[in-house]
């Protein structure tokens, strides 16, 4: 089976771990345990009738004290930028992380998601900003790890982009 490394990137407490856990084992917890270093999870998805195993590297969230090291990003076939809609600052973290990723792994597929859609009323990120992101060429999704909204879509979309971006394997020629 094809395996692909995917990194979860974003500021602290945006819901990276929550999204992964919702996707892998369909559970959600209100408790916040900050990720230390990296947690690796895996789940296979089907793209064009082919199974792809996503090996998800759930990294610690970036903040002013901890920069995400590029060594974790190396070898990623794609990455997910997670933002917390209720905190505008997480957008800046996403920008910074996207730059780091670009430098480390080049132009691989990535998807950004604005999490916590279940508390849309408290969002600090407005429509205009989202529009700007799209103009930059970003794929911006909305989701809620809490409700499980947009989670499956998030990972499947990325997996599809990764498979399509990759040179078609030899044995299919």
């Amino acid at each position: 089976m094809m395996q692909k490394k995917v990194c979860m990137l974003g500021g602290f407490a945006v819901g990276k771990t929550s999204l992964v856990r919702r996707f892998v084992s369909n559970v959600f917890s209100d408790h916040y345990h900050t990720t230390i270093g990296v947690t690796v999870e895996k789940k296979s998805v089907t793209v064009d009738d082919r199974d792809v195993m996503l090996v998800l590297w759930d990294l610690y969230g970036e903040d002013e004290f901890q920069r995400v090291r590029d060594s974790y990003l190396r070898g990623s076939s794609g990455y997910i930028l997670v933002m917390d809609g209720t905190r505008r600052a997480t957008l800046d973290a996403a920008f910074a992380l996207q730059q780091t990723a670009l430098q480390t792994v080049g132009t691989v597929p990535f998807i950004s998601i604005i999490n916590k859609a279940d508390v849309r009323s408290e969002w600090e990120i407005d429509e205009r900003t989202i529009e700007q992101l799209r103009e930059r060429g970003w794929t911006v999704l909305f989701g809620s790890a809490k409700l499980g909204q947009g989670v499956e879509e998030l990972f499947v979309t990325l997996a599809t982009q990764i498979v399509h971006a990759a040179p078609i394997p030899r044995d299919c020629l």
Binding site: M1, M2, Q3, K4, K5, G37, V38, V40, E41, K42, V52, M53, V55, W57, R69, S71, Y72, R74, G75, S76, S77, A166, P167, P169
Partner: protein, 572 residues
């Protein structure tokens, strides 16, 4: 010079080169055999062309190749060994690894049989921890075992291939690969190490993870126990092999691990294991232990046999002993247990136990009392219940009690009433019993008169009969009285005629009384009789009147008194 000659010369000059070629051609046409040089030019192509068409070539060549191969092996075996060693080596190593895994099984068997303290301890541990015994043995005898080997792509941390030893716990391999890669980055970043400084091993519980780096992939071995440093060389060799075999797949790895299935053998060769064989208990120790056991056993056997023989003897004796019936006899863990019936008049069983040579404490006996109908016991019982006087002889014939001898009429009457109440007796016969009543006896005694010659205190032969009758009556009375709880007071009274001095006469009276007393066997009379020897009063009825010869006598006077301890002091 002739024209012919010139012509020939000219021809030679003109056609010489062609002539040589012509000669050669003619030569070839005449001699059509194939030239090796010519063949050598086309041989490879010829083989290729023919080989493609049909398998004829291979068939033709096979015997020659085979012969040649055999000849070569004979001539220089070394070269062949060198050539095939790289192929054989891995195969053999794999076989050895399999054999080592199999050893776990045989350990189990050998330990099953051995009774070593260690074996027992491990069994206990297995029981306590709920782990299989084989696993406990493995843990204790294992020096090291490479349980899992991961081949991981360096850049992506994705798993290329994985092998696990038989029975080893295989975790989520892909996740573990990622974590192993992440841990390395984390450690390197945290210590600010350069990319070529790598984490080469770390411990997790009882496992050590050994990491060996290659240019595109690295090898992680999960090892239980303490591996030798040489293991690293094997890892490195395997990694080098893989890099050499799969250069393309490694450089262009895009997540498809399929090509790395080919590394299976290479990785399996890294699944080394080394066990420490359990020490065999030394033969000498075993012998000594065995010998001691045999000695102990035989000693115990002899003791048990002896005790058992004594026990059997005791049972036989108890069985033949009158008045005892054994109902339960069994051996218990601590000794023996006896239950039965015992007549109170029967022999003491605990004395019999001691006589049999058994430890009384080892036998627990419960006896219930009963009346035995054994004639001997019935007789004893009749004697003690009926208080038979010694003058009576009791004998038992079946259920009949027969009394002979003599007894007082009172006793005879009493016995007739009581005899049938004695357990075991239903009929009583006393035709052979002579009965006398106490008043009769008293009368017979008191009638006794022993006469003496003048001045003599010697019992005359003529008086013997009278003395005998008195003595007999006295004895009977003694018996009879002892039954009724009374006592007899017997006075032996001597007297004289008037001749001679008074002093002499008193002296003579005493002497005569004493002689008669002795003749009566007074000191041998029963307990019931108190005897007093003395002088007859002058007012004695029998001696007061009549002739002098009637006054040289000794008379007896027996009276009955109520038994009284005080009287005993009066006995001579």
């Amino acid at each position: 010079m002739s024209v012919d000659e010139d012509w020939t010369q000219l021809r030679t000059l003109l056609l010489s080169p062609e002539q040589t070629q012509l000669d050669e051609l003619r030569d070839r046409l005449d001699n059509r055999a194939v030239q090796p040089r010519d063949v050598s030019r086309v041989l490879p192509e010829a083989f290729a062309v023919r080989g493609e068409r049909d398998p004829q070539l291979a068939t033709v060549l096979t015997p020659y190749v085979e012969n040649g191969f055999v000849a070569t092996i004979r001539k220089s075996p070394r070269a062949i060994v060198d050539a095939i060693a790289p192929i054989m080596g891995p195969a053999i190593r794999q076989a050895i690894a399999r054999a080592l895994q199999g050893m776990t099984q045989s350990f189990n068997h050998s330990l099953d049989e051995s009774l070593s303290v260690r074996g027992l301890r491990w069994r206990l541990e297995a029981w306590r921890t709920g782990r299989p015994f084989a696993e406990v043995v493995l843990l204790h005898t294992l020096r090291y075992r490479v349980e899992q080997v991961f081949l991981i792509h360096r850049e992506t941390g994705l798993l290329l291939h994985h092998v696990g030893a038989e029975g080893a716990v295989v975790q989520d391999q892909q996740v573990l690969s990622g974590m192993l890669t992440a841990i390395q980055s984390y450690v390197r970043d945290s210590f600010g190490a350069s990319p070529d400084q790598t984490l080469d091993h770390f411990r997790v519980g009882e496992w050590t993870v050994w990491i060996e780096q290659g240019s595109h992939a690295y090898l992680a071995g999960v090892v239980r126990g303490t591996p030798p440093e040489t293991l690293r060389e094997d890892f490195q060799a395997a990694l080098d092999d893989i890099h050499a075999q799969q250069p393309d797949a490694l450089t262009h790895f895009d997540g498809d691990a399929a090509p790395f299935k080919a590394t299976q053998t290479c990785l399996e060769n890294c699944l080394h294991a080394h066990y420490e064989p359990p020490p065999r208990p030394s033969a000498l120790k075993l012998w000594i232990l065995g010998g001691a056991m045999i000695l102990l056993l035989s000693w115990w056997g002899v003791m048990a046999y002896q005790t058992h023989a004594r026990w059997s003897n005791l049972l036989v004796e108890l069985g033949t002993e009158p008045g005892m019936v054994v109902t339960v006899a069994k051996s218990t863990l601590t000794g023996y247990h006896l239950e039965g019936l015992r007549d109170p008049l029967a022999k003491d069983p605990s004395a019999m136990v001691v006589e049999a040579g058994l430890e009384p404490s080892s036998i627990k006996a419960v006896w219930s009392p009963y009346y035995s109908l054994d004639p001997q016991l019935v007789e004893t019982r009749a004697h003690s219940m009926l208080h038979a006087p010694t003058t009576v002889k009791l004998s038992v014939e079946g259920d009949t009690l027969v009394a002979t001898g003599s007894a007082s009429t009172e006793w005879a009457r009493e016995t007739r009433r009581l005899a049938s109440l004695v357990p075991g007796i239903s009929i009583y016969r006393d035709e052979g019993l002579v009965t006398t009543s106490i008043p009769d006896l008293l009368e017979r005694i008191n009638r006794t008169v022993v006469r003496f010659r003048s001045g003599s205190s010697i019992v005359e032969p003529s008086e013997r009969a009278a003395l005998g009758a008195g003595s007999m009556a006295l004895r009977e009375l003694d018996q009879a009285v002892s039954q009724s709880g009374q006592r007899v007071r017997l006075e032996v009274l001597g007297s004289t005629d008037d001749t001679g001095s008074v002093t002499r006469n008193i002296q003579l009276s005493k002497e005569r009384a004493h002689v008669v007393l002795v003749a009566l066997g007074g000191d041998q009379l029963g307990e019931a009789t108190t005897v007093i020897a003395g002088l007859a009063q002058s007012t004695d009825q029998r001696g007061s009147t009549g002739e002098a010869r009637d006054r040289r006598i000794v008379t007896l006077r027996a009276t009955l008194t109520v038994a009284n301890r005080g009287n005993e002091a009066a006995r001579p």
